[in-house]
Amino acid sequence: MGAAAVRFLKAPAAAWKDQSRTVRRVVWAAAILVALLALAGADKLRWAGAGVLIVIAMVLLLWRIVWDGFWPAVDRAGLTEVHTRWSRQSPMAQRAITPVVIAVLVLAIAWAAGVHPDPALLVLLALTYGIYLLPRGVRRFALPLGVLSAAAVYPILIQQTDYQRFLFKLPIFDVFPSMDTMIAMVIFSIMAVGLNMVVGYAGLLDLGFVAFFALGAYVAGWLASPLFAQVDARVGATGVGQGLTGIHFSIWLVLILAGVVTAFSGVIIGFPTLRLRGDYLAIVTLGFGEILPVIARNGDQNGLGFNLTNGPPGINPIDPPGFGNWADQHLGLPANFVLEQGQYVNFRSLIYWSAIGLLLITLFCSIRLRDSRLGRAWIAIREDEIAAAAMGVPLMRTKTYAYASGAFFGGIGGAWFATYIASVFPDQFFFNISVFILSMVILGGMGNVWGVVAGAMLLTYLDREGLSNISGWLNSHALHCDASQTNPSSVISGGCVNAPLVSFGIYGLIIVLVMLFRPYGLFPEQRRKAEFETGVHDTPLQDVTV
């Protein structure tokens, strides 16, 4: 290739680089919007519904420009007096006024575009604003308490037959998530917080977290089901029929044992592998994550002479959970989550509330661990392994603890999930799930438990209901297609989109975009953010060839 040709090819790139940041951003935003419109079929996109989306996308894409450029623009317009008056206001007033202005603006645009926000949505906005306005000290407690109480009363609201009276429909996301989705959201949060200890705190990339999920679920299957019919052992089991053999432990015991077994397996996996450098460790964990489902799938013909996992159909049924008669009589806790004769007494609510309890315990442990001597050692290893080792942090032991603690909560999440669906089978456990949980941690912000919980809730919701609701909304409001003419195995057919089919592509896109543009996640931990912005000494330990 001649030099002249190279210069000719490079000229546009150079010209592009000469433009100011703002210009480049605007052009990028416009290009993305054009692409979005082209993809959605511009002729089918009606202004009525799409207008809001376009405005919101525009604002999001150009947020930094809007933010950085607002007051300079005001100054340039000759309204310097407005600016000085604004900066004379107290910080509290500035804080209070900005969101109102933005909200009013967005609502006005939505109104003009023909989308009338539900009054209930306005109430929700006002409530959020109220919490936002509270003084910092109060807000610290008000926000989690508010969220927690809303989460606690949620099953009561959603399980009314006419729940629309209590809960409104959201614009694009349609109805509120069902109990099944909520339970999955909470359980995946538990696992994501567990993974966060490994990836977020200690900085070890674990691509096989599904192994711990699977192991926890199988421990529940082994210890609370009729699988091992040759033995008859009962320890505080509830809701198990008379004369049914097999191992039946109380679910609470099962949860602890599941945690312990998975933590122990984490130690076993970690012991030979944790001395590998970061990317090799990731691959090894991936290998374990792939091997375990294979063992589960073939565990009925393992040559040991007994049926370990019951093969592809899996273990079914797993005993329903409950607190037992003593707790029922003395503490008023339900003896059994399922009544006799298989009749459901708000089974899902009980499972959900217990899951929230488990999540709270997990969060408590996670935060206390983070602030403990061990947690500080994890963060030290994450930031600079060599410096940490020089300061006397025992690398192997600390990493193994991180691995084991993460595995512990993965196991508990898995056991509770198995109990909830009352079965465990190998096809639930794929590499996809590992990446799914990993993307929760990445999206939420590695290291920040609240961000991780938010990421887990959001992604699980999208996975279970959100994506299909969104594509349903697109189909009926923007594309106006005939849903009966679609082919369920292709993403775009008959003018309709079927977004859930490419859900993992969307998670992949989320991972890539977050890593490229906001590597510390949506809700970054300050320390992690600083690591990414100022950089840390990141040469991994060369321990492989020893």
Partner: protein, 360 residues
């Protein structure tokens, strides 16, 4: 440096654990050899038949494994998306075979060759451009980021590529027409021994080897004897020093991704013809097998990747075909990943030694 800093009193247990580790490793290898020997003794003809299957399979894995090893050697990045680039190459091939040539069952040899060559060219072109584009968009901005960042991005890209295949072809696997190149339906070329205890060589196996070997030789020539190859090796050894010697590091890296993508394209086309079915998730598993092969041979080491790929191909074939005490196809995945783990634990530098900036 660090080991010296804190493990001085722990030297003796370290040696002991090393001894245990290498002892276990040796025992495992010996057991495998004994198992192979007994199988060979029981049914020699079958053993060699399966060996031939393994060689074809291994040649295919070699094409993919080289892509991993090239990229790892230069960037120290496990390019997770590589297997999916390979899969998209297969998809391109499937489209051309079905839509442009509209081949049906058992096509005429001339048309088959033409379809193969055209799809090979387009698949190589498409895959190399795709791979280089992915590098530009997703990996290049992260070159100074913490080391795990590009790895995580690569996983994301892998999922995106799989879902592009779903967008394009749907979730069901695409089937290609049976042809002389398809596994199990090739012509008998020659036979050794008297049947039924004979070893036959069929055209499908020859075809795989016939395409793969020249490609591998061309790659070796490119890396060893050309100016561009010298630039690649220099960049792999030390990026800063290479830049000081006037090598355009970014361009060299892009070129490496182009070459790796091209190899994946060749692999995709061969796979599409040989296996005659390809689905969106094919690339992930095969990619991991090939990655295992690259690690087995010593990552960054080109002959190592070929050796590792042949070994993995044979192990897979032996496991799925040998008669005496064989776990069977259901366990193939577990065995290959088990090998990956064992290699990384016992001999992380691989059989022939790794050749990376840090490893050498």
């Amino acid at each position: 440096m660090v080991t010296e800093a804190h493990s001085e009193p722990a030297r003796a247990p370290r040696d002991l654990s090393n001894l245990i580790l290498s002892g276990t490793g040796l025992t495992l290898v010996l057991l495998v050899i004994v198992w192979l020997g007994i199988n060979l003794e029981q049914d020699p003809a079958r053993f060699f038949r399966i060996l031939l299957i393994g060689v074809s399979q291994g040649a295919l894995y070699a094409l993919i494994a080289l892509g991993y090893t090239l990229v790892y050697g230069i960037l120290e990045l496990i390019n997770f998306a590589h297997g999916d680039v390979f899969m998209l190459g297969g998809m391109i091939t499937a489209s051309i075979v079905l839509q442009v040539f509209s081949l049906t069952e058992n096509p005429a040899f001339g048309i088959l060759i033409a379809a193969f060559l055209v799809s090979l060219a387009l698949s190589v072109l498409g895959c190399s451009l795709l791979n280089a584009t992915v590098e530009r968009i997703a990996y290049k901005p992260l070159r100074t980021a913490p080391r795990l960042a590009p790895l995580i991005t690569a996983i994301g890209v892998s999922f995106i590529l799989q879902n592009i295949a779903i967008l394009w072809k749907g979730t069901r696997p695409v089937a290609l027409p049976e042809s002389e190149f398809a596994q199990g339906s090739g012509h008998h070329l020659f036979t050794i021994g008297t049947c039924p205890s004979c070893v036959v060589y069929t055209s499908d196996r020859l075809f795989v080897v016939l395409v793969t070997v020249p490609v591998l030789l061309a790659l070796l020539w490119l890396v060893r004897f050309t100016r561009q190859g010298k630039a690649m090796r220099a960049t792999a050894q030390d990026k800063d020093a290479a830049a000081m010697m006037g090598i355009d590091v970014d361009r060299t890296i892009s070129f490496t991704f182009l070459v790796a993508g091209g190899l994946a394209g060749v692999g995709g086309t061969i796979f599409a013809f040989y296996a005659s079915t390809i689905g969106y998730s094919t690339g992930f598993t095969l990619g991991l097998f090939a990655f295992t092969a690259a690690v087995l041979g010593g990552i960054g080491n080109l002959p190592g990747a070929v050796l590792g790929a042949l070994l993995i191909g044979m192990i897979q074939a032996f496991n799925e075909g040998l008669p005496w005490h064989t776990p069977g196809p259901a366990w193939t995945q577990a065995i290959v990943f088990g090998i990956l783990i064992l290699i990384l634990v016992f001999r992380p530098q691989g059989l022939l030694g790794e050749q990376t900036p840090e490893g050498s």
